[in-house]
């Protein structure tokens, strides 16, 4: 029993890491009032750029940096369109996804070595490998938490820091105000547009890192559909986390868990057709969404940042 639980937890954490990065990133973006539906595209771009960089330089650090940069850049385009140019945030996000996915495919067919027909598919490179922490990794069940790769360990710091920043610092206070009531934040002297830009770009950076984890650790390498719709699932995870970074872990664990169960069942050779198992995460997302919405209507209080998805412009000066 214990070995089973331990291995389930291990797979869950590995699968959930990229989701946590992306969820925390999107929480910050949405907290500023901007909805970024471009995450699928950003994650793909993060994955392909990280892998390409690592393939040629063998430097994992460089891969991460580039992935973060790429994520930030794509998010910056979205920010420019939505904040300064006041475009429709839904369509803008979708365009980032379409563009990002297309560009990632393009790069995946172009950045590879000539020996592989310029394709990045089918190659292997340096990866983030798991390394156990002394003593802690021998704990029953929980030991799985301490036998992970560097990026997952970083999550253990990222989440509490993200929570503390949002709820206990002055900057986090300002951010929350901007997302709830930009008119008020503006009147109180907070630079609304700057805040929105900052956290949209920062959020995009984290999402890019989430993509990097996929190609550098979880399913090392590059393939066309490496994200499998994770970028979209993150949107549900943000709602599930009620825009609280600490709760982001819950959702990621839930979906990591579903992934883990899928693996297990397939490995065990069940009669359930693979297709139905593969549908699980997507159906689960819908169910989670319905439950969250229903609960929110009941409790009437915990909800999205009030100004999410709206554009803000002060009357002419």
């Amino acid at each position: 029993m214990i070995p089973l639980l331990t291995s389930l937890l291990a797979i869950t954490l590995r699968a959930g890491t990229s989701l946590i990065y992306a969820t925390v990133g999107e929480i910050y973006t949405e907290r500023s009032g901007i909805l970024n539906l471009g995450m699928e595209g950003i994650m793909l771009m993060g994955a392909v750029s990280a892998f390409a960089v690592v393939y040629y330089t063998s430097s994992l650090l460089a891969g991460l940096l580039i992935a973060g940069l790429v994520g930030a850049l794509l998010a910056a385009i979205h920010a420019l369109l939505c904040i300064t140019l006041r475009a429709n945030q839904v369509v803008s996000g979708l365009s980032i996804t379409l563009f990002g996915s297309g560009l990632a495919s393009f790069l995946g067919q172009r950045l590879g070595p000539v020996s592989n027909n310029r394709y990045l598919v089918g190659l292997s490179a340096v990866q983030f490998k798991a390394f156990p922490l002394p003593f802690l990794s021998r704990l029953p069940v929980l030991g799985a938490m301490f036998n992970q790769d560097l990026l997952t360990y970083a999550v253990y710091l990222l989440v509490p820091l993200a929570w503390f920043f949002l709820y206990r610092t002055r900057e986090g206070l300002n951010l929350r105000a901007v997302g709830e009531n930009p008119q008020t934040a503006d009147a109180m002297g907070i630079k609304v547009q700057r805040v929105r830009y900052l956290y949209t770009i920062a959020g995009g950076m984290l999402v890019g890192l989430g993509g990097a984890h996929l190609s550098l650790a979880y399913t090392p390498g590059w393939s066309e559909n490496i994200t499998g719709g994770r970028g979209w699932i993150v949107i549900a995870l943000v709602i599930f986390a009620m825009w609280n970074p600490a709760r982001a872990v819950l959702g990621a664990v839930l979906f990591g868990g579903i992934n883990a169960v899928q693996f297990r069942l397939q490995a065990a050779g069940t009669h359930i057709p693979a297709a139905y198992l593969n549908m699980l995460p997507y159906l689960a997302t819908v169910v989670v969404l319905v439950i969250m919405t229903w609960w929110e209507t009941l409790s009437k209080r915990i909800g999205a940042p009030a100004a999410l998805g709206t554009s803000y412009m002060r009357e002419e000066k």
Binding site: R168, T169, R170, E171, L173, N174, R176, A177, E180, N181, Q183, T184, A185, D186, A187, M188, G189, I190, K300, A306, R314, E315, E316, K317
Partner: protein, 514 residues
């Protein structure tokens, strides 16, 4: 006012232009320490614009500002705050989902990165005590009443060291008693050397609260008067530019059959708390029943329940004898009910669609505008042209989008659409809010017309003067209950004020029916 003291604030020849309108035309203003100045004018006179310039939300095209004798460049609310100037807006600048203490320190420059909230709370309590602005620093804004929220706004300004407080129509959301409390707070502040400017269009406020008054009309400064040396009539004349008739001609009442009846109606608000508690009254054709009360006591819920936009949790609503409680809005519209909602752009009209489209939004289901499934664009245009003329709506073309029209013309469009019959019920909620005197007069005239031709009118209004002028009977709504129902002739401000604050006045109740 001490003649030898220096003014703490001087605004010199301030001008500000917006597309199509000169909002401020070389306006001057002087404010001395320890003084309350009233800025009086109609809607659109330029008072809010002037003050928004002072707090850095707008930049003046011409003119300059001197604070304590020094020329000041105010580019943002932060600059204004640094100079000791702060404003309490009509729409409170508060984040509902955050705490009082968080709202008060939001955006403060010298707040440490990790603020110590216990110290903040302590300081808030000190200021609360001193100025008698009681409020719980650890409450969420959404838990507070409107009056308490206003106190938070004032606390916020004082916490940040404001010497000059600007209040925009502060009593619009207060009961008469709460307004007196505010007056006491202002007196306390001015006795400590602070100054205040408050923006208003109500003469009574000017007389009660201020030491000096400046009257603006059409963007220009018309007069500067010492409050003790003037009177409401003179102020009104300066404000409007002509003699204002305070009473409209009203024909004697001719009541018909009962049109609307509420029996023990109960309903909840958006948060699930009871908003209407056993409301009962009846309304006849040819009668205007005014519902008075400070906003937030159930007015919105009452209008929504009668027009089918909200479910009741008890009781019955009858229109011409038929039970329509919890019917759909469509069924109620078909029973002959028209609704002029409080929220013009958010509910009553679709800004992105044309004037013509908005005009037919009620009648599009009937001939000749539509037959079966089809809409006939030419007939819509004809209909629209007739309405535009009949109601004097100013618009470049019938196909112009509604959002390009002025507030008054938008309201005229809504009226034109809703005033479609001489029978049934018309529910009008704050119909003249935000309109200038001319538009207000015409709205009231239309309501009287409806009444005279036999329609039942339920008029919900915060403006006691409006109700006293055109209503036949007045009911007062307080915390979801009807405190009293009086014939308009016997109602007076004092009695109504008491009822609005929750006291049931002696003899304040007529029989609920007719």
């Amino acid at each position: 006012m001490n003649a030898e003291a220096q003014p703490i604030l001087v605004m010199e020849k301030i001008s500000k232009r917006f597309p199509g309108v000169l909002a401020n035309d070389a306006v001057d203003l002087e404010l001395y320490p320890g003084e309350v100045l009233a800025l009086l004018g109609e809607n659109g006179a330029g008072k809010s614009t002037l003050m928004n310039i002072l707090v850095g939300l707008y930049r003046p095209d011409e003119g300059c500002i001197l604070v304590k004798g020094q020329e000041a460049e105010i580019h943002s609310p932060r600059d204004a705050a640094a100079l000791g100037i702060g404003m309490v807006h009509q729409n409170f600048m508060l984040v509902e989902s955050m705490l009082v203490s968080e709202n008060i320190v939001l955006g403060l420059q010298d707040l440490p990165l990790v603020p110590k909230m216990e110290e903040v709370v302590l300081r808030i309590r000190e200021i609360s005590e001193r100025y008698r602005l009681q409020v719980d620093p650890n409450a969420y804004i959404w838990q507070l009443s409107v009056g308490e929220q206003q106190r938070v706004e004032i606390l916020k300004l004082i916490y940040r060291g404001a010497e000059i407080l600007i209040l925009d129509e502060p009593t619009a959301v207060l009961t008469p008693q709460e307004a007196e409390d505010l007056n006491r707070v202002l007196q306390q502040m001015t006795s400590e050397g602070k100054s205040a400017v408050f923006i208003t269009h109500k003469m009574e406020e000017v007389m009660a609260f201020s030491h000096w008054v400046r009257v603006l009309r059409n963007g220009r400064l018309m007069a500067v008067k010492k409050t003790g040396e003037t009177n409401p009539q003179e102020l009104a004349r300066l404000m409007v530019g002509r003699e204002v008739l305070f009473r409209l001609e009203r024909k004697p009442a001719r009541f018909g059959a009962t049109v609307l009846e509420l029996k023990g109606v109960q309903a909840d608000d958006d948060r699930g708390l009871p908003a209407l508690k056993e409301i009962s009254f009846a309304l006849a054709g040819g009668e205007i029943l005014g519902v008075a009360g400070v906003a937030g006591n159930g007015q919105r819920e009452l209008a929504e329940v009668v027009t089918g936009l909200r479910k009741t949790s008890g009781g019955r609503i009858l229109i011409r004898g038929e039970n329509v409680s919890n019917s759909t809005p469509l069924k109620i519209i078909r029973s002959g009910v028209s609704h002029i909602p409080a929220d013009r752009i958010g509910m009553g009209a679709v800004g992105e669609m044309s004037v013509a489209s908005n005009l037919v939004m009620k009648g599009y289901r009937k001939r000749p505008i539509s037959s079966r499934f089809w809409l006939h664009p030419r007939r819509i245009l004809e209909f629209a042209r007739r309405m535009i003329e009949a109601f004097s709506i100013t618009t470049p073309t019938p196909l112009t989008r509604l959002k390009f029209l002025s507030g008054g013309n938008i309201q005229k469009t809504i009226l034109a659409r809703e005033i479609d019959a001489c029978e049934g019920l018309l529910v009008a909620v704050y119909p003249s809010r935000g309109l200038d005197v001319g538009a207000t007069e015409s709205v009231r005239a239309r309501l009287l017309e409806q009444r005279d031709c036999g329609r039942a009118v339920l008029l919900i209004s915060e403006d006691l003067e409006e109700l006293l002028t055109i209503a036949d009977r007045i009911a007062v709504l307080f915390e979801g209950k009807i405190m009293g129902l009086l014939p308009a002739e016997t109602a007076d401000l004092k009695t109504l004020g008491l009822m609005m604050a929750g006291t049931q006045a002696p003899g304040g109740f007529d029989a609920p029916g007719i």
